[in-house]
């Protein structure tokens, strides 16, 4: 009886050890549902050809991406081996133990220099300046601008503009020019409007939009190391920046009260606005004549500089991390080693992914590949991000509650709004013990 039981156990053990090897040949990457995910799937198909390991990119709509990801983490689920997570998740995911610590991997492959420095700082490192890394920058992204070249290059318009403002009409280099041009093209009777900006306050749309003004005017959201916000968030430059953003809102199409990437692209395709802000990730749709009837006439420029010459843009983009509950961590490491190779990153850019790989970014080939790549290349070295602490969403909620009524409704003054927000944030940071 005993020997029989032993044999049974041995058989079971063999089966148990044997079975996982069947799974080890498959990896799942979780991302949001958008074109870059399709490009990634094409890229990883090449990995399968090389190694025989099948990689599936599983997706879910953007609005549900965070919910699904963190619910899975919380349940310590192994449904996903890797995840291309938002940069803001770094704090929550690393402190929560959901991401595998990739510091060693970073050092081994010198990723601090292989990838563009700004991307490493914001997509991978947490806490700030700590030297700990949790993700490989995969999809670089930032906010850029598209505009109607044909409207700008129309001789009549150019004459009228120069007459009124005293300088030639061209893609704006400073925020003041941006405001002037928006005012110039704002013609409600003709159903043409000056500008399209982010105003969606259900998550981070509005805040990202305001960041573009804030950073370029020389202000900041606070000190990322000491968590001080007083005097930084509500500095004079910040107030000026917020007022500028509010002014831009006056030149948006009617009903522009809950807008994000969808609406802002529609502003260009439907010929509503002269200029439109959006993440670079959404620009491919604008150069495709099938999706944008105005594709031929659409140009791009990087976020303009502020009055003091600072030029920054709000950061988007994601990095790819290994989920600590995955059953295939070793296999995932192998995949990442393949992913960071020079030629793979080049191929990633070719397919449409926004690589963060420094050499690829700097290459002429990349910069000339599409009308917006040059602007993208310039921007990626001048990006700043929102807070990446685990409680970032509470900070966002407070920001939305304070900024929205002012920007969209004109309630209160920029100074009052920023002062109130600074108070809110101070309280939140105190609640989580970041400050005393």
């Amino acid at each position: 009886m005993r020997s029989y039981a032993c044999r049974l156990l041995a058989g079971a053990a063999v089966l148990a050890l044997w079975a996982p090897s069947a799974n080890a040949q498959e990896l799942t990457i979780f991302w949001a549902e958008w074109d870059p995910a399709n490009y990634l799937q094409e890229l990883v198909n090449e990995y399968e050809e090389e190694t025989g390991v099948m990689v599936t990119v599983e997706t879910t709509p953007w609005q549900d991406f965070q919910t699904k990801a963190f619910t899975e983490f919380n349940a310590r689920g192994n449904a996903y081996d890797m995840i291309v997570g938002d940069s803001q998740w770094l704090g929550a995911a690393s402190e929560g133990g959901h991401y595998v610590d990739l510091t060693e991997f970073f050092k081994e492959h010198d990723l601090g220099n292989v990838m563009a420095p700004a991307t490493v700082k914001y997509y991978a490192e947490y806490p700030g300046n700590s030297g700990k890394f949790w993700a490989i920058p995969a999809e670089g992204d930032a906010v850029g601008w598209s505009y109607r070249k044909d409207w700008f290059e129309d001789p009549e318009e150019m004459k009228a503009f120069e007459a009124k403002y005293g300088y030639p009409l061209a893609a704006p280099q400073t925020w003041q020019q941006l405001i002037d041009i928006a005012e110039f093209f704002h013609r409600p009777d003709e159903n043409r409007y000056g500008i399209a900006i982010y105003t969606d306050n259900s998550y981070d749309g509005l805040v990202m939009g305001v960041e573009n003004a804030l950073f370029s005017y020389g202000a900041d959201l606070g000190d990322y190391e000491t968590y001080e916000v007083e005097g930084i968030l509500n500095s004079d430059q910040a107030v000026e920046a917020l007022e500028a953003y509010r002014q831009l809102y006056q030149y948006t199409p009617p009903g522009w009260s809950k807008t994000f990437f969808v609406e802002n692209n529609q502003a260009i395709t439907e010929g509503l606005a002269a200029m439109s802000m959006n993440y670079f990730a959404f620009f491919p749709a604008l150069v495709n004549p099938a999706t944008n009837p105005n594709a031929e006439n659409t140009g791009f420029f990087a976020n303009p500089a502020g009055p003091d010459g600072d030029q920054f843009a709000a950061l988007g983009g994601q990095g790819i991390s290994i989920v600590s509950y995955s059953d295939n961590i070793d296999e995932a490491y192998k995949f990442l080693e393949w992913f960071i190779q020079d030629d793979v990153q080049k191929r990633w850019a070719e397919l449409g992914g926004y690589t963060a790989h420094a050499k690829t970014l700097e290459s002429d080939e990349f910069r000339n590949a599409t009308p917006y790549n040059e602007a993208f290349y310039q921007t990626m070295f001048k990006v700043k991000d929102f807070w990446a602490v685990p409680e970032y969403a509470e900070l966002l909620t407070a920001a939305n509650q304070r900024l929205y009524p002012y920007v969209v409704g004109g309630e209160g003054s920029a100074k009052e709004v920023l002062d109130a927000l600074a108070e809110d944030w101070k309280e939140t940071f105190k609640k989580y013990g970041r400050t005393n």
């Binding site: 995911a93 199409p253 009617p254 009903g255 009260s257 439907e270 969403a393 509470e394 929205y404």
Partner: protein, 315 residues
């Protein structure tokens, strides 16, 4: 007092079952088949058990979490903080604003649904051509998924792309951008979508009112108002109340289409705030406390409604 039915000895009854039923303490010897008690238990217990199993765990889990500082996004242990979450919420003016906004919304939306739905039912409760087809068509709004409704109504309301301003000649009227109008705009979508629900239930109730009552009233020369308030309404009231109870409960939970349509502070319903708290900020403990506060409110309100319902049934 259970009425016992008197049974006669049926010539085809099985002698064996007769003997068995005779031995059952609960049933009269004359009833065949399963006893009333067995049937009652068989019909009710599975449902109750099923619902208990399904709801007990989540309810208890949420209750426990509401007394902790648990955040579902981390693996940090949950610390017991007693009533701190509840205190934080009840002291937060933004939360109170959510409550008032939701209350206003529920009143507008449910009233609208009842007026439109019941009105439509009254219209349809006659001999009109193609009644079946018309009823099905009028039920269509209810059959769409909330997310789709939200997406398309957002487009419909848009001053540039949408047909509402276009067909009604409203030019650049801002439905969703205007903070005051936005809540009405969201409520209109709700009314549009759910009046068919009230309509269907009312129609079923109305078509069950016996015709002879109307005939008797006519003979008595009763006017339309009298007929409506003394005959129609009281007989439809039970079903109508059930419809109102469910729609009110659902109105408090409104999330899907409201979230997509508008993110104005003046349209932040409880469920939207709850979602942000639970899934964007991951303040799981706080959101559970919030949910329980809302639950208590809804229970209280529903209790009142159910009392009305019972009164309506007792006639």
């Amino acid at each position: 007092m259970r009425e016992r039915s008197r049974r006669l000895f049926h010539p085809e009854s099985d002698i064996v079952t007769d003997v068995i039923t005779r031995l059952k303490p609960d049933s009269r010897a004359a009833s065949r088949g399963l006893s009333d008690l067995t049937i009652r238990n068989l019909f009710i217990i599975p449902t109750i058990a099923f619902l208990i199993i399904f709801n007990v765990f989540p309810l208890l889990y949420s209750l426990w979490t509401s007394f902790t500082d648990f955040r579902a996004s981390t693996t940090a242990p949950a610390n017991w903080i007693g009533l701190a979450n509840y205190r934080e919420l009840l002291n937060d003016p933004f939360i109170w604003r959510n409550f008032t906004i939701t209350a206003k919304y529920v009143i507008i939306s449910v009233t609208g649904q009842v007026v439109v739905g019941f009105g439509l039912a009254m219209l349809l409760n006659r001999a009109i051509p193609f009644k079946g087809l018309v009823t099905t068509l009028l039920l269509l709004p209810m059959m769409l998924s909330m997310a789709v409704v939200g997406l398309f109504w957002k487009l419909l309301y848009d001053p540039s792309f949408g047909i509402i301003n276009y067909f009604l000649g409203l030019g650049k009227f801002e439905w969703l951008a205007d903070p005051q109008v936005a809540l009405w705009a969201v409520a209109i979508v709700d009314i549009w979508m759910w009046s068919p629900f009230v309509m269907l239930l009312s129609l079923a109730g109305l078509s069950a009112v016996p015709k002879h009552l109307y005939e008797a009233a006519e003979i008595d020369r009763a006017g339309p108002f009298y007929t409506f308030f003394r005959i129609t309404l009281p007989l439809v009231a039970p079903i109508l109340m059930i419809a109102i109870i469910f729609r009110t409960m659902e109105a408090f939970k409104t999330f899907d289409h409201a979230y997509i349509l508008s993110s104005q502070p003046t349209t932040e319903l409880i469920a939207i705030r709850l979602y942000k708290m639970a899934f964007l900020e991951w303040q799981t403990g706080l959101s559970s406390a919030f949910a329980y506060i809302v639950l208590i409110m809804v229970v209280a309100i529903t209790n009142i409604y159910v009392k009305y319902l019972n009164r309506a049934k007792a006639r």
